[in-house]
Symmetry: D2
Subunit: 305 residues, 4 copies
Amino acid sequence: MISVNHIKIKKGMSVNELILQMDSSGVLGAGRLGKAVNICEAMIKDKDCKVFLGLAGPLVPGGMREIIIDLIENKWVDVVVATGATLTHDLGEALGYKHYQGSAAADDTELRKKGFDRIYESYMPNRIYEGMEDFIAKNFESLKEKKSIKDFLWEIGRLTPKKSICRACFENKIPLFCPAISDSGIGLMIWGQLAKGKTSETRAFEDLKEIIESSWTSKKAGVIYFGGGVPKNYIQQAMQLAPKMASYGVQVTMDRPEPGGSSGAELKEGISWGKMNPKAKFVDLICDATIAMPIIVAALKERIK
Amino acid sequence: MISVNHIKIKKGMSVNELILQMDSSGVLGAGRLGKAVNICEAMIKDKDCKVFLGLAGPLVPGGMREIIIDLIENKWVDVVVATGATLTHDLGEALGYKHYQGSAAADDTELRKKGFDRIYESYMPNRIYEGMEDFIAKNFESLKEKKSIKDFLWEIGRLTPKKSICRACFENKIPLFCPAISDSGIGLMIWGQLAKGKTSETRAFEDLKEIIESSWTSKKAGVIYFGGGVPKNYIQQAMQLAPKMASYGVQVTMDRPEPGGSSGAELKEGISWGKMNPKAKFVDLICDATIAMPIIVAALKERIK
Amino acid sequence: MISVNHIKIKKGMSVNELILQMDSSGVLGAGRLGKAVNICEAMIKDKDCKVFLGLAGPLVPGGMREIIIDLIENKWVDVVVATGATLTHDLGEALGYKHYQGSAAADDTELRKKGFDRIYESYMPNRIYEGMEDFIAKNFESLKEKKSIKDFLWEIGRLTPKKSICRACFENKIPLFCPAISDSGIGLMIWGQLAKGKTSETRAFEDLKEIIESSWTSKKAGVIYFGGGVPKNYIQQAMQLAPKMASYGVQVTMDRPEPGGSSGAELKEGISWGKMNPKAKFVDLICDATIAMPIIVAALKERIK
Amino acid sequence: MISVNHIKIKKGMSVNELILQMDSSGVLGAGRLGKAVNICEAMIKDKDCKVFLGLAGPLVPGGMREIIIDLIENKWVDVVVATGATLTHDLGEALGYKHYQGSAAADDTELRKKGFDRIYESYMPNRIYEGMEDFIAKNFESLKEKKSIKDFLWEIGRLTPKKSICRACFENKIPLFCPAISDSGIGLMIWGQLAKGKTSETRAFEDLKEIIESSWTSKKAGVIYFGGGVPKNYIQQAMQLAPKMASYGVQVTMDRPEPGGSSGAELKEGISWGKMNPKAKFVDLICDATIAMPIIVAALKERIK
């Protein structure tokens, strides 16, 4: 049995030095955070392992955009699945808009008058929709022909004027999936075109071929989930077809298992489904993603390369 | 100011009698549950109001299937949006399979050997996939041609041998949406066909036309969310296009607002977006859906018709 | 394996009829609520079993006061442990004050000016302190001599003009414990007397003798926790000295196990400590206490006597 | 309006460098963590401010013991309020015992046989009770005479052979309060003496004089809560008597406000009570304490002195 080591704080310690202390401490949040870094490090360094990253929740309004792009550009991840909201927030920033620090106690009626959409304690300027409408209208001819959502998103990436999640995926040939893309601001802009009588060729089931090809051909697979939702579930589903299931897993969420949904389900549940290898290294970290993601990535930067 | 009335329990009281007591009590869970029933009653009885129902989480393994079908057959709801998992669980039962009472403390490796997939404390027999594979294979020719996911789901309903959510929606002409249908067991079965070189015509963005038409043409709209995820967000998005936004809202979830995601967001946040009418009647109920749904519906049965 | 029965709602069904349906449904919230009623019924009907009730959280501002008093007067419980806040709220109502329905979105600075103390969405009139100060000042001579907190609380019950939790415990000779009584409005009022140079003889450790005597002499013990905190932990501690540990357990809380504290700890953890009998019947119900308590008691009323 | 700055991770960055990035990011967890460090820094550096620290939850089994002792020895805090469990875990370690890394999935019946008490995913060796029993028995004569719980705890600190929270408080003359001390392993050991017919003079209400004197005489007050429970509430209660209420506040908890209890209550609620100054700087951080505490203290070490 391993005894609990009590963390000692030193002035000026680096993030990784703190994480190493956490790793040897107990098995509550601190210990799990330490373990999460170890597992991420192992899967990224494992040349045989394809890393699947799931992104849900307000990561862009929460200030995580550069970190996510960094993960893609460094090729630390091989497949990305995101919510439509994340890609919409990201496109908005790529088109020159900002998100703002706000307050959950704000008067929502006033915010509406001022043109701000509230995302808990962040604000998104409503005029972001105008910019996106122009962008989609201008590029609809090339977007409408994409048969898969992945190709649709890569095309958005190709067309995006500045650095963005979509663009980083396109440029680095990292497949980017978003099964519920119609459930997003981007979806609404496409509807704007359909409402004018235009048509879109993008298929609902088409991407399944590519994501399952990705897992099917993996020697090993690792999963990293920030938030649950469709991104987590879609990757979990692909793991059912991976020859060795997932060999590594890190889940960061504030959702709890007791309501029984996929978002809060513990990773070990996946063993029963054949999604998680019984011998896999995995950890469930109960933490706000905007706290955990920068810490994990900062510690990894000290460990990798 | 209204003082807190202390609930008095009488032997044999009906569910609605208890709810009336709760309604006059404080403003914690009990009071909110009382208010949730009042608001559901108001929106269902309001002839001008279209009711949008969002369903997420393991409602079918949780025993809610008959209640959901009942809501549809009674035409208490006008539009349904569900997760792919819910429709998969539902189809499984319609094909003759059952879900089973289990335990979160089970040995997942053992469950896998025995052929059971764990959903928190419920088990789904893995052989459900065989039945679904047969069903989809047999009916793929008619399913593949459906241009919208709604038509695809109605077709599943039409073909389903027994009572089911899909079938109840089809028979009662209630639109049923599922933007992330590819992220589900049904999606996997379709992939099985695509993997054989077949093609599917179902479009990713097509349904937006119909759900927005539904909200656009509503005199008033009401929203009821059991769980968050894509179903809630997709309805919320449609509310942005409703002439009067939502006039009624009931949200039942265990997710919390602080991580900032859509699932746990308080309904009042929607006011800033123009999704919720500032004068709307709405309530956020923090409760397991499988507790709240039967209670709310039992109370409504005493009040409606 | 037991299959999930889907709940069927009938018009006018009694609370217990609904609970019986829930009991045969899945094992999410609904199923656990059904099980909680069964276990409460079993422990109350078991003549050999002493029932220990723990009360934490804003149960009085939440409208639960009559139900709690009812549980005591019916002698369904044998020992009660409560937070100081609950006894303060209860004494306030016994002295003629009310709690009020409020809003978490209220302006707290305004509330302060108006003389209302906010308890999430309930308000307590600040003048309650004047009434309590008078009550304590008038009765300090008899209160100050009580050596145990239990005797102190029974004396408050004896002196209380109207029906109250303290009075019901006093009249029915149900021991009432509150280890952290100094951490409450009642505590503050006692401080007011001490600040004038008076002294109190009430001992910090004295009650341990009586609560452990209670568990020590039990043939069997059952525990019911609404909320966690000191009440739960103090009863759990007493179970360590019960000959057979707890044979029945029902826990109702919104706290989660992952932060590792006692409040959210699953009951099964108590097996390792010798607090919970490995053969005990117990259930953890994740639910707002103000929803669960009325439902459980309403169902029990149909089953007991 | 302040726009969201996206965090940029640099290799080898110190904890404080990361926190400064978080501070300028959004207003989700990362932004709140940044703000928490700022507010702690401000209150510790403010010469006029007395800092009240509340400690609840399994901080010692979670590896936080050295950090807490460090906070006391550096005199960054002026008053400490803790749960009995924390002081029991701390005394156990001072007597030479360890806590161990464990698993929530362990077989609790097996653990009992092996003599380990489970605290979520930590284990405490049951033989810790023997050591504590000896310690208390040996020192009961000097402990029993202490009139206040604070003096009782300082005496434990004086008698403790090694570095400990109690000893650090005693040596640095930092008042240490624990209203519910009887609800703890230490309490049980005192009961062991009382059961032999001995008596203890420690009074239940006595400490109120000293903690309220502390707040009453403060020019300014600041509060830091890791976890809720009695420690938070007891300090909050003292703030009602502080001339300027609390001027600074940091709360770190996983409890949520919706059940309405004190543990999860937002700090702003305290404004209505006159506990928190309407002009105070304060933040509610939703985070596991074992993650937040090391990070906050590591960042503070770079900023203070």
